[in-house]
Amino acid sequence: MKSKKAPYFFIAPAIILLLMFSIFPILIALLISFTDMSLAGLADYSRIEFLGLQNYQNILQDNVFIQSITNTLFYVLFGVPLVILFSLTIAILINMGKTKYFSFMRVVFYSPSITNIVAVAIVWAFLFNPSESIGLINQMLSTVGIQPIGWLTNTDVSKFSLVILAVWRGIGINMLIFSAALQNIPKTMYEAAELDGATKWEQIWHITIPQLKFSTSFVTITTIIGWLQFFEEPFVMTDGGPLNSTMSVALFIYRNGFQNNQFGYAAAGSLLLFVVIIAATMIQLRLQRRGQN
Protein backbone atom coordinates (compact mmCIF):
# COMPACT_ATOMS: atom_id res chain seq x y z
CA MET A 1 0.00 0.00 0.00
CA LYS A 2 1.16 3.46 -0.83
CA SER A 3 1.22 5.68 2.20
CA LYS A 4 -0.73 8.93 1.90
CA LYS A 5 1.92 10.86 3.78
CA ALA A 6 4.98 9.54 1.98
CA PRO A 7 4.90 11.91 -1.04
CA TYR A 8 4.89 14.92 1.27
CA PHE A 9 7.96 13.61 3.07
CA PHE A 10 9.66 13.10 -0.27
CA ILE A 11 8.99 16.55 -1.66
CA ALA A 12 9.17 18.53 1.60
CA PRO A 13 12.93 19.22 1.74
CA ALA A 14 13.15 20.36 -1.88
CA ILE A 15 9.96 22.41 -1.76
CA ILE A 16 10.91 24.09 1.52
CA LEU A 17 14.32 25.04 0.16
CA LEU A 18 12.83 26.40 -3.07
CA LEU A 19 10.19 28.37 -1.17
CA MET A 20 12.81 29.77 1.17
CA PHE A 21 15.46 30.68 -1.39
CA SER A 22 13.46 31.39 -4.55
CA ILE A 23 9.82 32.29 -3.95
CA PHE A 24 9.90 33.98 -0.55
CA PRO A 25 12.92 36.19 -1.50
CA ILE A 26 10.88 37.81 -4.30
CA LEU A 27 8.47 39.11 -1.66
CA ILE A 28 11.34 40.33 0.49
CA ALA A 29 12.93 42.01 -2.54
CA LEU A 30 9.66 43.76 -3.28
CA LEU A 31 9.34 44.85 0.33
CA ILE A 32 12.85 46.22 0.75
CA SER A 33 12.76 47.95 -2.63
CA PHE A 34 10.36 50.43 -1.01
CA THR A 35 12.79 51.14 1.85
CA ASP A 36 16.26 52.54 2.45
CA MET A 37 17.50 49.18 3.76
CA SER A 38 21.28 49.26 4.23
CA LEU A 39 23.87 47.83 6.62
CA ALA A 40 22.63 50.19 9.31
CA GLY A 41 19.09 48.94 8.80
CA LEU A 42 20.33 45.37 8.97
CA ALA A 43 21.75 45.97 12.43
CA ASP A 44 18.73 47.83 13.72
CA TYR A 45 15.35 47.47 12.04
CA SER A 46 14.00 50.68 13.56
CA ARG A 47 16.37 52.64 11.34
CA ILE A 48 14.75 51.40 8.16
CA GLU A 49 12.59 54.00 6.54
CA PHE A 50 9.75 53.52 4.10
CA LEU A 51 10.49 55.42 0.89
CA GLY A 52 7.59 54.47 -1.35
CA LEU A 53 8.65 54.58 -4.98
CA GLN A 54 11.66 56.79 -4.28
CA ASN A 55 14.22 54.07 -5.11
CA TYR A 56 12.56 53.41 -8.45
CA GLN A 57 12.46 57.11 -9.30
CA ASN A 58 16.11 57.56 -8.36
CA ILE A 59 17.37 54.51 -10.17
CA LEU A 60 15.66 55.48 -13.42
CA GLN A 61 17.50 58.81 -13.23
CA ASP A 62 20.80 57.17 -12.33
CA ASN A 63 23.11 57.60 -15.33
CA VAL A 64 25.12 54.51 -14.46
CA PHE A 65 21.93 52.43 -14.35
CA ILE A 66 20.80 53.80 -17.72
CA GLN A 67 24.21 53.01 -19.17
CA SER A 68 24.10 49.51 -17.70
CA ILE A 69 20.77 49.00 -19.49
CA THR A 70 22.12 50.10 -22.87
CA ASN A 71 25.21 47.95 -22.32
CA THR A 72 23.07 44.93 -21.44
CA LEU A 73 20.94 45.48 -24.55
CA PHE A 74 24.16 45.59 -26.55
CA TYR A 75 25.25 42.26 -25.04
CA VAL A 76 21.89 40.67 -25.86
CA LEU A 77 21.70 42.14 -29.37
CA PHE A 78 25.17 40.94 -30.39
CA GLY A 79 25.65 37.94 -28.17
CA VAL A 80 22.40 36.04 -28.62
CA PRO A 81 22.36 35.92 -32.46
CA LEU A 82 26.07 35.02 -32.55
CA VAL A 83 25.66 32.20 -30.02
CA ILE A 84 22.67 30.76 -31.89
CA LEU A 85 24.27 31.09 -35.32
CA PHE A 86 27.56 29.51 -34.25
CA SER A 87 26.10 26.71 -32.15
CA LEU A 88 23.63 25.79 -34.91
CA THR A 89 26.34 25.86 -37.59
CA ILE A 90 28.70 23.71 -35.54
CA ALA A 91 25.93 21.26 -34.65
CA ILE A 92 24.94 20.85 -38.32
CA LEU A 93 28.56 20.44 -39.45
CA ILE A 94 29.30 17.87 -36.72
CA ASN A 95 26.15 15.97 -37.55
CA MET A 96 27.35 15.49 -41.15
CA GLY A 97 30.11 13.11 -40.13
CA LYS A 98 29.65 9.92 -38.19
CA THR A 99 33.26 9.16 -37.36
CA LYS A 100 35.03 9.35 -33.98
CA TYR A 101 36.71 12.54 -35.17
CA PHE A 102 33.37 14.32 -35.45
CA SER A 103 32.17 13.19 -32.02
CA PHE A 104 35.49 14.35 -30.62
CA MET A 105 34.83 17.82 -32.05
CA ARG A 106 31.64 17.89 -29.99
CA VAL A 107 33.81 17.48 -26.87
CA VAL A 108 36.12 20.25 -28.07
CA PHE A 109 33.34 22.78 -28.64
CA TYR A 110 31.58 21.91 -25.40
CA SER A 111 34.69 22.19 -23.23
CA PRO A 112 34.57 26.00 -22.66
CA SER A 113 31.05 25.66 -21.19
CA ILE A 114 32.04 23.55 -18.21
CA THR A 115 35.12 25.47 -17.16
CA ASN A 116 35.21 27.89 -14.27
CA ILE A 117 34.18 31.41 -15.30
CA VAL A 118 36.69 33.12 -13.05
CA ALA A 119 39.53 31.02 -14.42
CA VAL A 120 38.63 31.53 -18.08
CA ALA A 121 37.98 35.24 -17.56
CA ILE A 122 41.49 35.55 -16.14
CA VAL A 123 42.89 33.60 -19.08
CA TRP A 124 41.05 35.82 -21.59
CA ALA A 125 42.12 38.98 -19.78
CA PHE A 126 45.67 37.68 -20.28
CA LEU A 127 45.02 37.00 -24.00
CA PHE A 128 43.48 40.47 -24.34
CA ASN A 129 46.41 42.22 -22.61
CA PRO A 130 47.13 45.41 -24.57
CA SER A 131 50.90 44.95 -24.47
CA GLU A 132 52.24 43.27 -27.60
CA SER A 133 54.76 41.26 -25.64
CA ILE A 134 52.19 39.95 -23.10
CA GLY A 135 48.81 39.64 -24.84
CA LEU A 136 48.67 36.76 -27.32
CA ILE A 137 46.00 38.34 -29.52
CA ASN A 138 47.84 41.61 -30.03
CA GLN A 139 51.03 39.61 -30.48
CA MET A 140 49.44 37.68 -33.35
CA LEU A 141 47.94 40.84 -34.86
CA SER A 142 51.33 42.53 -34.84
CA THR A 143 52.78 39.78 -37.03
CA VAL A 144 50.34 40.85 -39.77
CA GLY A 145 51.08 44.51 -39.15
CA ILE A 146 48.02 45.52 -37.10
CA GLN A 147 48.59 48.01 -34.30
CA PRO A 148 47.85 46.78 -30.75
CA ILE A 149 44.19 47.09 -29.73
CA GLY A 150 43.09 48.04 -26.23
CA TRP A 151 40.69 45.13 -25.96
CA LEU A 152 39.69 45.84 -22.37
CA THR A 153 40.96 49.40 -22.01
CA ASN A 154 39.32 51.07 -25.01
CA THR A 155 35.71 52.02 -24.27
CA ASP A 156 34.68 51.38 -27.88
CA VAL A 157 36.07 47.86 -27.94
CA SER A 158 35.62 46.58 -24.37
CA LYS A 159 32.01 45.40 -24.83
CA PHE A 160 32.96 43.40 -27.94
CA SER A 161 35.79 41.73 -26.04
CA LEU A 162 33.41 40.51 -23.34
CA VAL A 163 30.97 39.30 -26.01
CA ILE A 164 33.79 37.28 -27.61
CA LEU A 165 34.48 35.51 -24.30
CA ALA A 166 30.80 34.90 -23.56
CA VAL A 167 30.05 33.59 -27.06
CA TRP A 168 33.06 31.27 -26.83
CA ARG A 169 31.65 29.95 -23.59
CA GLY A 170 27.99 29.91 -24.62
CA ILE A 171 28.28 27.82 -27.78
CA GLY A 172 28.73 24.43 -26.09
CA ILE A 173 25.46 23.78 -24.34
CA ASN A 174 23.32 25.14 -27.18
CA MET A 175 25.26 23.09 -29.69
CA LEU A 176 24.40 19.98 -27.65
CA ILE A 177 20.71 20.85 -27.64
CA PHE A 178 20.78 21.33 -31.42
CA SER A 179 22.78 18.12 -31.86
CA ALA A 180 20.24 16.09 -29.91
CA ALA A 181 17.41 17.57 -31.99
CA LEU A 182 19.27 16.91 -35.26
CA GLN A 183 19.52 13.24 -34.42
CA ASN A 184 15.75 13.08 -34.06
CA ILE A 185 15.07 14.22 -37.64
CA PRO A 186 13.95 11.15 -39.59
CA LYS A 187 16.47 10.05 -42.18
CA THR A 188 13.71 9.35 -44.69
CA MET A 189 12.99 13.07 -45.04
CA TYR A 190 16.45 13.66 -46.46
CA GLU A 191 16.25 10.58 -48.66
CA ALA A 192 12.97 11.76 -50.15
CA ALA A 193 14.39 15.24 -50.77
CA GLU A 194 17.48 13.73 -52.38
CA LEU A 195 15.31 11.69 -54.76
CA ASP A 196 13.54 14.90 -55.70
CA GLY A 197 16.91 16.37 -56.62
CA ALA A 198 17.32 18.80 -53.71
CA THR A 199 20.83 20.16 -53.16
CA LYS A 200 22.58 20.01 -49.76
CA TRP A 201 21.75 23.67 -49.16
CA GLU A 202 18.10 23.11 -49.94
CA GLN A 203 18.06 20.14 -47.59
CA ILE A 204 19.54 22.20 -44.75
CA TRP A 205 17.30 25.16 -45.49
CA HIS A 206 14.01 23.35 -46.05
CA ILE A 207 14.32 20.29 -43.80
CA THR A 208 16.93 20.78 -41.08
CA ILE A 209 16.11 24.37 -40.07
CA PRO A 210 12.30 23.96 -39.96
CA GLN A 211 12.66 20.69 -38.05
CA LEU A 212 14.72 22.47 -35.42
CA LYS A 213 11.97 24.99 -34.65
CA PHE A 214 11.28 23.74 -31.13
CA SER A 215 14.89 23.60 -30.05
CA THR A 216 15.63 26.96 -31.69
CA SER A 217 12.90 28.67 -29.72
CA PHE A 218 14.04 26.94 -26.51
CA VAL A 219 17.62 28.04 -27.12
CA THR A 220 16.56 31.58 -28.03
CA ILE A 221 14.54 32.08 -24.87
CA THR A 222 17.09 30.58 -22.49
CA THR A 223 19.95 32.46 -24.17
CA ILE A 224 18.15 35.82 -23.99
CA ILE A 225 17.34 35.23 -20.30
CA GLY A 226 20.95 34.29 -19.66
CA TRP A 227 22.43 37.30 -21.45
CA LEU A 228 20.07 39.72 -19.71
CA GLN A 229 21.77 38.53 -16.51
CA PHE A 230 25.30 39.03 -17.89
CA PHE A 231 27.44 39.27 -14.76
CA GLU A 232 30.61 37.27 -14.23
CA GLU A 233 32.44 38.35 -17.39
CA PRO A 234 32.41 42.09 -16.64
CA PHE A 235 32.79 41.41 -12.91
CA VAL A 236 36.04 39.48 -13.24
CA MET A 237 37.55 41.04 -16.36
CA THR A 238 36.80 44.76 -16.19
CA ASP A 239 34.77 45.39 -13.02
CA GLY A 240 32.39 47.32 -15.27
CA GLY A 241 35.07 49.66 -16.58
CA PRO A 242 36.61 51.48 -18.27
CA LEU A 243 34.25 54.38 -17.56
CA ASN A 244 31.34 51.97 -17.00
CA SER A 245 31.53 50.91 -20.66
CA THR A 246 31.06 47.23 -19.75
CA MET A 247 28.78 47.69 -16.72
CA SER A 248 25.78 45.36 -16.95
CA VAL A 249 22.50 45.59 -15.05
CA ALA A 250 23.35 42.50 -13.00
CA LEU A 251 26.74 43.92 -12.06
CA PHE A 252 25.10 47.25 -11.17
CA ILE A 253 22.76 45.42 -8.80
CA TYR A 254 25.60 43.44 -7.22
CA ARG A 255 27.69 46.57 -6.77
CA ASN A 256 24.97 48.60 -5.14
CA GLY A 257 23.89 45.71 -2.98
CA PHE A 258 27.15 44.24 -1.79
CA GLN A 259 29.78 46.90 -2.30
CA ASN A 260 27.74 50.00 -1.41
CA ASN A 261 25.34 48.07 0.89
CA GLN A 262 22.33 49.90 -0.53
CA PHE A 263 20.07 46.87 -0.38
CA GLY A 264 16.83 48.74 -1.03
CA TYR A 265 18.18 50.55 -4.07
CA ALA A 266 19.69 47.38 -5.52
CA ALA A 267 16.47 45.43 -4.91
CA ALA A 268 14.55 48.03 -6.93
CA GLY A 269 16.99 47.52 -9.80
CA SER A 270 16.70 43.75 -9.57
CA LEU A 271 12.90 43.86 -9.78
CA LEU A 272 13.07 46.06 -12.87
CA LEU A 273 15.37 43.45 -14.40
CA PHE A 274 12.91 40.71 -13.44
CA VAL A 275 10.07 42.55 -15.19
CA VAL A 276 12.18 42.91 -18.34
CA ILE A 277 13.05 39.19 -18.30
CA ILE A 278 9.40 38.19 -17.97
CA ALA A 279 8.41 40.63 -20.74
CA ALA A 280 11.16 39.36 -23.06
CA THR A 281 10.06 35.77 -22.47
CA MET A 282 6.40 36.58 -23.13
CA ILE A 283 7.20 38.45 -26.34
CA GLN A 284 9.34 35.54 -27.54
CA LEU A 285 6.63 33.00 -26.82
CA ARG A 286 4.02 35.13 -28.59
CA LEU A 287 6.21 35.64 -31.64
CA GLN A 288 6.75 31.91 -31.89
CA ARG A 289 3.08 31.14 -31.55
CA ARG A 290 2.36 33.63 -34.33
CA GLY A 291 5.10 32.03 -36.43
CA GLN A 292 3.44 28.67 -36.07
CA ASN A 293 0.02 29.82 -37.21
Partner: protein
Protein backbone atom coordinates in the same frame (compact mmCIF):
# COMPACT_ATOMS: atom_id res chain seq x y z
CA UNK B 1 21.57 12.92 -41.83
CA UNK B 2 22.33 14.59 -45.12
CA UNK B 3 24.24 12.37 -47.50
CA UNK B 4 27.55 13.95 -48.38
CA UNK B 5 30.49 13.06 -50.57
CA UNK B 6 33.85 12.10 -49.14
CA UNK B 7 35.46 15.27 -50.44
CA UNK B 8 32.89 17.49 -48.77
CA UNK B 9 33.26 15.52 -45.57
CA UNK B 10 37.00 16.15 -45.48
CA UNK B 11 36.44 19.87 -46.09
CA UNK B 12 33.92 20.02 -43.26
CA UNK B 13 36.32 18.10 -41.04
CA UNK B 14 39.06 20.60 -41.80
CA UNK B 15 36.81 23.60 -41.09
CA UNK B 16 35.75 22.08 -37.77
CA UNK B 17 39.35 21.21 -36.94
CA UNK B 18 40.51 24.77 -37.50
CA UNK B 19 37.57 26.25 -35.59
CA UNK B 20 38.15 23.73 -32.80
CA UNK B 21 41.80 24.71 -32.59
CA UNK B 22 40.84 28.37 -32.17
CA UNK B 23 38.41 27.25 -29.45
CA UNK B 24 41.06 25.46 -27.40
CA UNK B 25 43.86 28.01 -27.89
CA UNK B 26 43.00 29.77 -24.59
CA UNK B 27 43.41 26.45 -22.75
CA UNK B 28 46.68 25.59 -24.49
CA UNK B 29 48.09 29.05 -23.86
CA UNK B 30 47.00 28.89 -20.22
CA UNK B 31 48.73 25.55 -19.65
CA UNK B 32 51.93 26.56 -21.45
CA UNK B 33 52.08 29.89 -19.61
CA UNK B 34 51.53 28.22 -16.23
CA UNK B 35 54.89 26.46 -16.65
CA UNK B 36 56.80 29.60 -17.65
CA UNK B 37 58.41 32.12 -15.34
CA UNK B 38 56.68 35.49 -15.28
CA UNK B 39 59.89 37.08 -16.54
CA UNK B 40 59.64 34.94 -19.65
CA UNK B 41 55.98 35.90 -20.23
CA UNK B 42 56.60 39.64 -20.04
CA UNK B 43 59.82 39.54 -22.05
CA UNK B 44 59.67 40.97 -25.55
CA UNK B 45 60.84 37.64 -26.99
CA UNK B 46 57.66 35.56 -27.25
CA UNK B 47 58.03 31.79 -26.87
CA UNK B 48 55.38 29.20 -27.57
CA UNK B 49 56.88 26.62 -25.23
CA UNK B 50 58.54 27.52 -21.92
CA UNK B 51 62.29 27.87 -22.39
CA UNK B 52 62.56 26.09 -19.07
CA UNK B 53 59.57 24.26 -17.57
CA UNK B 54 58.99 25.34 -13.99
CA UNK B 55 56.62 24.21 -11.23
CA UNK B 56 57.41 27.27 -9.11
CA UNK B 57 54.04 28.91 -9.88
CA UNK B 58 52.08 25.95 -8.58
CA UNK B 59 54.32 25.70 -5.53
CA UNK B 60 53.65 29.34 -4.76
CA UNK B 61 49.87 28.82 -4.96
CA UNK B 62 49.98 26.25 -2.20
CA UNK B 63 52.87 27.42 -0.07
CA UNK B 64 52.25 31.13 0.01
CA UNK B 65 48.70 31.69 -1.23
CA UNK B 66 46.38 29.43 0.79
CA UNK B 67 45.23 27.41 -2.21
CA UNK B 68 45.34 24.36 0.07
CA UNK B 69 42.63 25.95 2.25
CA UNK B 70 40.59 26.93 -0.82
CA UNK B 71 40.89 23.40 -2.18
CA UNK B 72 39.57 21.84 1.04
CA UNK B 73 36.67 24.34 1.12
CA UNK B 74 35.81 23.63 -2.50
CA UNK B 75 35.86 19.90 -1.81
CA UNK B 76 33.52 20.28 1.19
CA UNK B 77 31.10 22.45 -0.79
CA UNK B 78 31.13 20.04 -3.71
CA UNK B 79 30.38 17.10 -1.39
CA UNK B 80 27.51 18.97 0.27
CA UNK B 81 26.10 19.59 -3.20
CA UNK B 82 25.42 15.86 -3.47
CA UNK B 83 22.88 16.14 -0.64
CA UNK B 84 20.92 18.38 -2.98
CA UNK B 85 21.13 15.80 -5.74
CA UNK B 86 19.56 13.29 -3.38
CA UNK B 87 16.77 15.71 -2.38
CA UNK B 88 16.04 16.38 -6.06
CA UNK B 89 15.80 12.65 -6.73
CA UNK B 90 13.35 12.21 -3.84
CA UNK B 91 11.12 15.05 -5.02
CA UNK B 92 11.28 13.86 -8.62
CA UNK B 93 10.24 10.36 -7.52
CA UNK B 94 7.22 11.66 -5.60
CA UNK B 95 6.11 13.84 -8.51
CA UNK B 96 6.38 10.90 -10.88
CA UNK B 97 4.78 8.10 -8.87
CA UNK B 98 2.34 9.52 -6.35
CA UNK B 99 -0.95 11.31 -6.53
CA UNK B 100 -1.41 13.89 -3.84
CA UNK B 101 -3.19 17.12 -3.16
CA UNK B 102 -1.76 20.20 -4.88
CA UNK B 103 0.62 18.00 -6.88
CA UNK B 104 0.21 19.92 -10.13
CA UNK B 105 0.26 23.27 -8.41
CA UNK B 106 3.47 22.39 -6.55
CA UNK B 107 5.13 21.06 -9.69
CA UNK B 108 4.33 24.25 -11.61
CA UNK B 109 5.66 26.22 -8.65
CA UNK B 110 8.90 24.25 -8.89
CA UNK B 111 9.19 24.94 -12.62
CA UNK B 112 8.35 28.62 -12.13
CA UNK B 113 11.43 29.07 -9.94
CA UNK B 114 13.53 28.48 -13.06
CA UNK B 115 12.41 31.87 -14.35
CA UNK B 116 13.51 33.83 -11.30
CA UNK B 117 16.82 35.55 -12.01
CA UNK B 118 19.57 35.15 -9.45
CA UNK B 119 19.93 38.91 -9.10
CA UNK B 120 16.45 39.22 -7.60
CA UNK B 121 16.99 36.59 -4.92
CA UNK B 122 20.63 37.48 -4.26
CA UNK B 123 20.02 40.33 -1.81
CA UNK B 124 17.04 38.85 0.10
CA UNK B 125 18.78 35.49 0.45
CA UNK B 126 21.86 37.21 1.80
CA UNK B 127 19.74 39.12 4.33
CA UNK B 128 17.97 35.89 5.25
CA UNK B 129 21.17 33.89 5.75
CA UNK B 130 22.64 36.79 7.67
CA UNK B 131 19.61 36.75 9.94
CA UNK B 132 20.03 33.02 10.48
CA UNK B 133 23.69 33.57 11.38
CA UNK B 134 24.84 31.49 8.43
CA UNK B 135 27.32 33.92 6.88
CA UNK B 136 30.82 32.45 6.88
CA UNK B 137 29.56 28.89 7.16
CA UNK B 138 29.61 26.05 4.65
CA UNK B 139 25.88 25.57 5.16
CA UNK B 140 25.19 29.19 4.20
CA UNK B 141 27.24 28.82 1.03
CA UNK B 142 25.48 25.68 -0.22
CA UNK B 143 21.90 26.14 1.00
CA UNK B 144 20.69 28.67 -1.63
CA UNK B 145 21.59 26.42 -4.54
CA UNK B 146 21.12 23.03 -2.93
CA UNK B 147 17.99 21.99 -4.80
CA UNK B 148 17.05 23.11 -8.27
CA UNK B 149 14.00 22.97 -10.47
CA UNK B 150 15.90 21.57 -13.42
CA UNK B 151 17.25 18.64 -11.42
CA UNK B 152 13.83 17.83 -9.98
CA UNK B 153 12.33 18.05 -13.48
CA UNK B 154 14.90 15.66 -14.97
CA UNK B 155 14.44 13.12 -12.15
CA UNK B 156 10.67 13.29 -12.57
CA UNK B 157 11.03 12.69 -16.32
CA UNK B 158 13.28 9.73 -15.64
CA UNK B 159 11.10 8.10 -12.98
CA UNK B 160 7.98 8.63 -15.14
CA UNK B 161 9.58 6.41 -17.74
CA UNK B 162 9.83 3.51 -15.26
CA UNK B 163 6.74 1.36 -15.02
CA UNK B 164 4.78 1.57 -11.78
CA UNK B 165 4.79 -2.24 -11.63
CA UNK B 166 8.41 -2.32 -10.49
CA UNK B 167 7.44 -0.49 -7.33
CA UNK B 168 4.08 -2.23 -6.93
CA UNK B 169 5.79 -5.62 -6.73
CA UNK B 170 7.98 -4.48 -3.88
CA UNK B 171 5.00 -2.96 -2.09
CA UNK B 172 3.05 -6.22 -2.31
CA UNK B 173 5.94 -7.85 -0.45
CA UNK B 174 5.27 -5.37 2.34
CA UNK B 175 8.04 -2.88 1.60
CA UNK B 176 7.58 0.63 2.99
CA UNK B 177 7.59 3.72 0.74
CA UNK B 178 11.08 4.62 1.88
CA UNK B 179 12.35 1.12 1.22
CA UNK B 180 10.87 1.31 -2.28
CA UNK B 181 12.60 4.61 -2.93
CA UNK B 182 16.00 3.64 -1.53
CA UNK B 183 16.24 0.02 -2.60
CA UNK B 184 14.21 -0.06 -5.82
CA UNK B 185 13.95 3.41 -7.34
CA UNK B 186 17.45 4.72 -6.62
CA UNK B 187 19.30 1.66 -7.94
CA UNK B 188 17.19 1.88 -11.11
CA UNK B 189 18.15 5.50 -11.65
CA UNK B 190 21.88 4.96 -12.05
CA UNK B 191 22.08 6.50 -15.55
CA UNK B 192 20.50 9.79 -14.53
CA UNK B 193 22.37 9.86 -11.23
CA UNK B 194 25.58 9.54 -13.24
CA UNK B 195 24.72 12.59 -15.39
CA UNK B 196 23.40 14.62 -12.48
CA UNK B 197 26.30 13.57 -10.28
CA UNK B 198 28.87 14.82 -12.78
CA UNK B 199 26.97 18.07 -13.27
CA UNK B 200 26.71 18.48 -9.49
CA UNK B 201 30.43 17.97 -9.18
CA UNK B 202 31.19 20.53 -11.89
CA UNK B 203 28.76 23.06 -10.39
CA UNK B 204 30.26 22.62 -6.91
CA UNK B 205 33.83 22.89 -8.14
CA UNK B 206 32.99 26.03 -10.13
CA UNK B 207 30.72 27.67 -7.54
CA UNK B 208 31.55 31.34 -7.31
CA UNK B 209 28.70 33.71 -6.52
CA UNK B 210 27.45 32.36 -3.18
CA UNK B 211 30.90 31.72 -1.75
CA UNK B 212 31.74 35.29 -2.80
CA UNK B 213 28.69 36.76 -1.09
CA UNK B 214 28.45 34.57 2.00
CA UNK B 215 32.13 34.16 2.85
CA UNK B 216 34.02 37.32 3.69
CA UNK B 217 36.40 35.39 5.91
CA UNK B 218 39.26 34.08 3.77
CA UNK B 219 39.24 30.74 5.56
CA UNK B 220 35.93 29.98 3.84
CA UNK B 221 36.99 31.04 0.34
CA UNK B 222 36.61 28.56 -2.47
CA UNK B 223 39.09 28.18 -5.31
CA UNK B 224 37.21 30.55 -7.63
CA UNK B 225 36.93 33.28 -5.01
CA UNK B 226 40.59 32.77 -4.12
CA UNK B 227 41.52 32.97 -7.76
CA UNK B 228 39.64 36.21 -8.19
CA UNK B 229 41.48 37.58 -5.16
CA UNK B 230 44.78 36.46 -6.67
CA UNK B 231 44.03 38.32 -9.89
CA UNK B 232 43.53 41.52 -7.91
CA UNK B 233 46.59 41.12 -5.72
CA UNK B 234 49.02 39.82 -8.33
CA UNK B 235 47.76 41.74 -11.34
CA UNK B 236 51.06 41.64 -13.20
CA UNK B 237 52.13 38.11 -12.31
CA UNK B 238 50.56 36.39 -15.29
CA UNK B 239 52.42 33.13 -14.78
CA UNK B 240 50.93 32.78 -11.30
CA UNK B 241 47.45 33.67 -12.59
CA UNK B 242 47.69 31.05 -15.32
CA UNK B 243 48.84 28.43 -12.83
CA UNK B 244 45.81 29.19 -10.64
CA UNK B 245 43.47 29.10 -13.62
CA UNK B 246 44.98 25.84 -14.88
CA UNK B 247 44.56 24.28 -11.45
CA UNK B 248 40.83 25.06 -11.64
CA UNK B 249 40.22 24.20 -15.28
CA UNK B 250 42.35 21.14 -16.02
CA UNK B 251 40.76 18.73 -13.46
CA UNK B 252 37.30 19.58 -14.83
CA UNK B 253 38.46 19.06 -18.42
CA UNK B 254 39.88 15.65 -17.48
CA UNK B 255 36.69 14.58 -15.70
CA UNK B 256 34.65 15.86 -18.62
CA UNK B 257 36.68 13.92 -21.20
CA UNK B 258 36.37 10.73 -19.13
CA UNK B 259 32.60 11.04 -18.64
CA UNK B 260 31.69 12.95 -21.82
CA UNK B 261 29.47 10.14 -23.10
CA UNK B 262 27.09 10.55 -20.15
CA UNK B 263 27.09 14.34 -20.15
CA UNK B 264 26.67 14.84 -23.88
CA UNK B 265 23.64 12.53 -23.96
CA UNK B 266 21.89 14.39 -21.15
CA UNK B 267 20.64 17.29 -23.25
CA UNK B 268 17.85 15.83 -25.31
CA UNK B 269 15.19 18.41 -24.41
CA UNK B 270 12.66 17.21 -26.96
CA UNK B 271 12.91 13.57 -25.76
CA UNK B 272 9.63 11.84 -26.44
CA UNK B 273 8.28 11.41 -22.89
Amino acid sequence: MINISKKLKITIGAVLGLWGLVTVIPFLWMILSAFKTNAEIVSTQPNLFPSEWTLANFAELFQRLNFDVYLVNTAIITLLGFVGLFLNAMAGFAFAHYDFKFKNFLFILVLATMMIPGQVTMIPVYLLLNQMGLTNTYLGIVLPGLTGAFGIFLFRQFFSSISEEFFEAARLDGASDFYVFFRVALPLSKPIIAVQGILTFIAGWNSFLWPLIIANDQSFYTLSVGLQLLQGQHATNFALQMAGAAFMVVPILIIFIIFQKYILSGFNISGGK
